[in-house]
Symmetry: C2
Subunit: 380 residues, 2 copies
């Protein structure tokens, strides 16, 4: 379980209930890991199993009610939630839907509106057939969208959340500092990936939910591939991008290295993405928009950046907002962001750089120890 | 990318299309990681990011069409799929739904039925609001359930899939053998968890998607909790249960150890779950049902087992079928299962044991090296 004080959850609940009152919602209905953990502290890797659905109902007044498989009752009861209703999942006759409908009918008056996260970056983690069935079991209660309440809540982090992200960043920072121990010319990229995860664990990660990267002359072709067995070669630029987790919170940043002597193309490209990151950091303050940060960084990159140049971060590897021209989210203190400029160095090859920051009352603060313009060099 | 030969994917497609013909489905519409990887080989940890939806359309004739964010095009193009349609996600005006609807209208005739996995252990990985919008953009084409086609396909593994699971089991087996290096009285459970993941990586895991466990006198309270910092103590039973991944396939099994001298309660409990596992293995053959395995193991356990006593395994940590009384799935060669009996040793504390097997033409074969009845002892 998350070991936050109950006050942390009560503050989240109070914010949610204020937004629900504004949006005329009688309850929120939640099904995914971060949504449920946000209100309950229920932290487990058991979500890796797709077998069982998990439900949380947050009523307009009163405390959340967990409607969950019996296998999770022991863990849920270690937290602050006291109303825990269980069934023996998987149940082929009724996999919790009867119990859930009964709970919703109890907590939501006839005609009441039940908010479900429905917009971008959300999904419903339960079988579609059960979702359809649920709709018919609620009388005149209506399942509708959640007025972006979950997004608005989670996008602004509490100080305890920020400290957890800062801690995850520090863990990955120590692992990045040790990369010369594991990477040099001749080492297969798959070994680098495996050993980098070991470094993250040695430095204190609870687990390493994400690692991507690439290597190639003057840059790499994409940034989402798992590793191949191809060995690092002199002239390669190596990039590692990790989402290490501590206390249920992610970092998400990368570092680049040159294998042996570095070309001016790669060095200049790296210096440029560092400069763009710095410009993004300087533009980051309350009142600026996500789009502003995109445009600021894009100007340094030459003006033709494709894709997004950063995003939110927290209980998930990527969260709202997106640093893209269309995102008019106004930055507020407590928002945690990645700055992630990308520059094509040679055709079809790029260098990506990424740091993590938090918006403060007057500007922004680094959560990572920002990299300098010079590419660190690995043994060729 | 998965490096299977194209023949593997063509065989999967042919099986799917035969089932689609039987079920009168003009296409399958898929949104989740294992569903899309099953047909395309698209293997990436980037699914950890919830930002972008990914779509695959499998038509009744012809090859699958990927409708995916542009960031994934480079990786997808390394596989066998040639029709890859992309958009610049996230797009707040239309996050791929227009392109998807156009693709479905092209591949599915008016009045055609489009199958979507909808039953237990499935979900739809896209925003609910976009799902609702999609329904209105398809003319007289109908989104309906998939006649359990994905379940029926994935439940029976090919020989190459079985070899990958066997490999993951071997990796975890070598890590389990080294647990005495990292666990003894006085070591915090959180350190054991961290170091066990390191052992899995050292022994060849690509990544460690799941680790749970517990420790306590004569057993543990639940099997889904992350580790606390409580140190191991003499008299504890330690259990580690891992889903290590190699080549995109999971193992899922556990091992138990006694810290110091073992009580007869714990030793007898352990011997009993081993005996139940062995009985399950002997009952596992084509023609037996999932329920048969439950009842066979339950008889050894004393007849009052709660919950399921095993499940399928493959691209996910847990898959169909479930070893529960209600599951009448008839076992077939190629099904990969866990046998996972659980016994309460003292009130609210249990010992769980788990092995992985594959159904063969004449019976079953161990994918793990099965544990013996005696609890191995760690230094007290």
């Amino acid at each position: 379980m998350d070991d936050y004080a109950e006050a942390e959850y009560r503050a989240r609940l109070a914010r949610a209930q204020a937004m629900m009152a504004e949006a005329d919602l009688a309850a929120l209905f939640l099904t995914t890991e971060p949504e449920i953990r946000y209100f309950t502290g229920f932290l487990t890797r058991f979500w890796e199993s797709p077998t069982r659905p998990w439900f949380l109902v947050v009523p307009a007044q009163g405390d959340p009610v967990a409607v969950i498989p019996a296998i999770g009752a022991h863990l849920m009861a270690q937290g602050w939630i006291s109303d825990i209703r269980t069934w023996a999942a998987p149940d082929y006759a009724d996999d919790g839907i009867g119990l859930l409908a009964e709970t919703l009918r109890e907590l939501v008056p006839e005609g009441g509106r039940i908010g479900v996260p429905s917009a971008l970056e959300s999904h419903l983690r339960m079988p579609l057939a059960d979702w359809a069935r649920l709709g018919g079991m609620l009388g005149r209660r209506v399942l509708t969208e959640d007025a972006l309440i979950l997004r608005r809540l989670r996008m602004v982090k509490s100080s305890t959340e920020i400290e957890r992200i800062r801690h995850a960043c520090a863990v990955a920072g120590r692992a990045f500092a040790r990369v010369p121990e594991i990477a040099r010319a001749g080492v297969p990229l798959s070994d680098v990936f495996r050993n980098f995860q070991i470094l993250c664990l040695e430095e204190g990660a609870d687990w390493v939910s994400y690692l991507a990267g690439g290597a190639g002359p003057d840059g790499y072709g994409d940034v989402i591939s798992p590793a191949t067995d191809a060995p690092l070669a002199a002239g390669d630029i190596l990039m590692l991008d990790t989402g290490a987790v501590t206390g249920g919170y992610f970092c998400d940043y990368d570092r680049n290295w040159a294998v042996g002597p570095v070309s001016s193309i790669a060095q200049n490209g790296h210096a440029r993405v560092i400069e763009a990151t710095q410009a993004g950091f300087e533009a980051a303050r309350p009142g600026a928009t996500a789009a502003d940060l995109f445009h600021t960084m894009n100007a340094v990159l030459g003006g033709d950046a494709a894709g997004r140049l950063g995003h939110g971060l927290g209980m998930q590897l990527t969260e709202w907002p997106s640093l893209i021209p269309a995102d008019q989210t106004v930055l507020e203190p407590g928002m945690v962001l990645t700055l992630e400029p990308c520059l094509e160095t040679v055709p079809s090859r790029s260098i990506v750089h990424e740091e993590n920051i938090v918006i403060t009352a007057t500007g922004a603060e680094w959560l990572t120890a920002p990299a300098g313009p010079d590419l660190p060099v690995l043994e060729a």
